[in-house]
């Protein structure tokens, strides 16, 4: 199934040459089937942001195998259809400018590599909350199976829907 994930961002693009570390994350994909509504959750993402000359570049990577839907059979099937053994990571790259800093919402252009394919998502909105020294980011990436040329997994010969939105919940801290 699957699909996956994520994003990146960064709210406060601090001073030049600063760095951000992904403190914790929850990424959840949602799959719809006439007989099932399934979700797979990963807490295994790792991410880093590097800011320089007013621009911050972020990279987030999550192992495909780290998604857990509560059903080992389904998880193996998802890894298979997404070619997760061959392409074990989902990576997300984004670049944000310093001028976005004080916003409570950011719109990020994401480049996601998954299942051996690259997809670009323009202006994906994320909500930003500052909590102490940490920055909490939430949003949903409108991923689809066709974005990554994934054949829809099927149950009882009925394929799942093409839309596989990925909810993102991340906490970043400056390094």
């Amino acid at each position: 199934m699957l699909i996956v994930v994520l994003l990146a961002s960064l709210p406060v693009f601090a001073a030049a040459d600063s760095q951000w570390i992904l403190q914790q994350s929850t990424l959840t994909y949602h799959v719809s089937h006439p007989l099932h509504q399934s979700e797979g959750v990963s807490h295994g993402a790792k991410g880093k942001g590097v800011c320089h000359a007013g621009q911050c570049e972020f990279l987030i990577a999550v192992p495909v195998k780290s998604f857990d839907s509560g059903d080992s059979n389904r998880d193996l099937h998802m890894i298979q259809v997404t070619r997760g053994a061959e392409f074990p990571l989902v990576t997300v790259r984004t670049r944000l400018s310093e001028s976005d800093a004080a916003a409570s919402t950011i719109n990020a252009d994401l480049e996601i590599q998954f299942a051996g394919q690259t997809a670009h998502y323009k202006q994906v909105p994320f909500k930003v909350e500052k909590q102490g020294g940490e920055t909490h980011i939430t949003g949903t990436i409108p991923a689809t199976l066709t974005d990554f040329k994934i054949d829809p997994p099927s149950l009882l010969t009925i394929p799942v829907k093409n839309d596989v939105p990925v909810r993102v919940d991340m906490t970043w801290r400056p390094q």
């Binding site: 007989l35 099932h36 991410g47 570049e57 990279l59 053994a85 051996g116 690259t118």
Partner: protein, 307 residues
């Protein structure tokens, strides 16, 4: 008595249908048991090896894909099930090369070299198979973080084509298992439905024949269904979780039941044909069949409907 039952015309007819069905399934079974190797070298127009080129074999009949990348010396190797494949070679800065049909039919390796022509324009959006799109590709910017900055282990970043092939085979077999399981429910339900006319005092031998024939067909289809589940490769290190545990537990009930039910059924069949009342152990045919069918249905529902 077994011979009498097997020579029954209804049984013979339905078994003929079954054989026709088996002929349909056999090619995929054979495809899973015969493998071959396609290997070669990918180079550019000047003959220099092209590293990290993506080589994809797509089954012409199955549409299943298997992919690998060339090494630093431009060589690649794909282990494929027997069949016909379409091969594509892709690399950043080169035109895609496609070989429309390659036949793999035995252990002798097919050697297919690919010569790539430089593309006139390089897209600013990396193709899926270009080096930049690979998980371990370097960042496009010197200031951007790279995967090595994230502290991921090599096991987490490096692809494993052999494991992917194992997963592909597993999924392929379990899809057949699933479809055969669904097909099996049809004669199973029919067998149960006609059983009401097969065991009473006033039943005709034709009703019993039909019941026996449908039961035999159900057993045969069940055997194929079970084969594909049992022979599907296991993935090392996987801990079973979720409904699949119940699904497999039910197999310990309907599996023996699918053996015991026809054995008892044959005994009951012959007793009835002799004009006797079904007695002794043969009288357990009915309850054993009910439990077996119930366990089969529960197994099916456990992976179909979320409770």
């Amino acid at each position: 008595m077994l011979r009498n039952w097997l020579c029954n015309p209804f049984v013979a007819f339905l078994r003929l249908l079954f054989i026709c069905l088996l002929v349909q399934v056999a090619p995929s079974l054979i495809a899973q048991t015969t493998t071959g190797v396609v290997r070669g070298t990918v180079s550019d127009e000047s003959g220099r090896a092209v590293a990290n080129a993506a080589v994809t074999a797509t089954g012409i009949e199955t549409e299943q894909k298997q992919m690998t990348n060339t090494g630093p010396d431009g060589t690649y190797k794909l282990e494929l099930s027997a069949g016909k494949y379409r091969l594509t070679f892709e690399a950043a800065g080169f035109k895609t090369l496609e070989i429309s049909s390659v036949t793999v039919n035995g252990p002798a390796p097919e050697v297919l070299d690919g010569k790539l022509e430089k593309s006139e324009q390089v897209s600013d959006k990396p193709a899926a198979t270009q080096q930049e799109s690979l998980p371990n590709a370097p960042s496009s910017s010197t200031s951007a973080p790279s995967l090595s900055d994230l502290g991921l282990s090599p096991e987490q970043t490096q692809g494993n084509a052999r494991e992917q092939a194992l997963l592909d085979k597993r999924t392929h077999m379990l899809k057949i298992h699933q479809r055969m399981g669904l097909i099996t429910t049809i004669p199973l339900i029919a067998t149960v439905a006609v059983s009401f006319n097969a065991g009473g005092k006033n039943t005709s031998s034709a009703s019993r024949d039909l019941h026996a024939a449908l039961g035999g067909l159900t057993g045969d289809l069940y055997g194929i269904t079970a084969y594909y589940a049992i022979r599907a490769p296991r993935v090392p290190g996987t801990k079973k979780r979720g409904p699949i545990k119940f699904h497999e537990a039910m197999a310990w009930i309907h599996g023996p039941g699918m053996i015991l039910t026809p054995v008892l059924g044959i005994m009951a069949f012959n007793e009835k044909n002799k004009g006797e009342k079904v007695h002794g152990i043969a009288s357990a045919h009915n309850p054993v069949a009910i439990v077996t069918a119930g366990a089969f249905g529960a197994a099916l529902l456990s992976v179909s409907v979320k409770f």
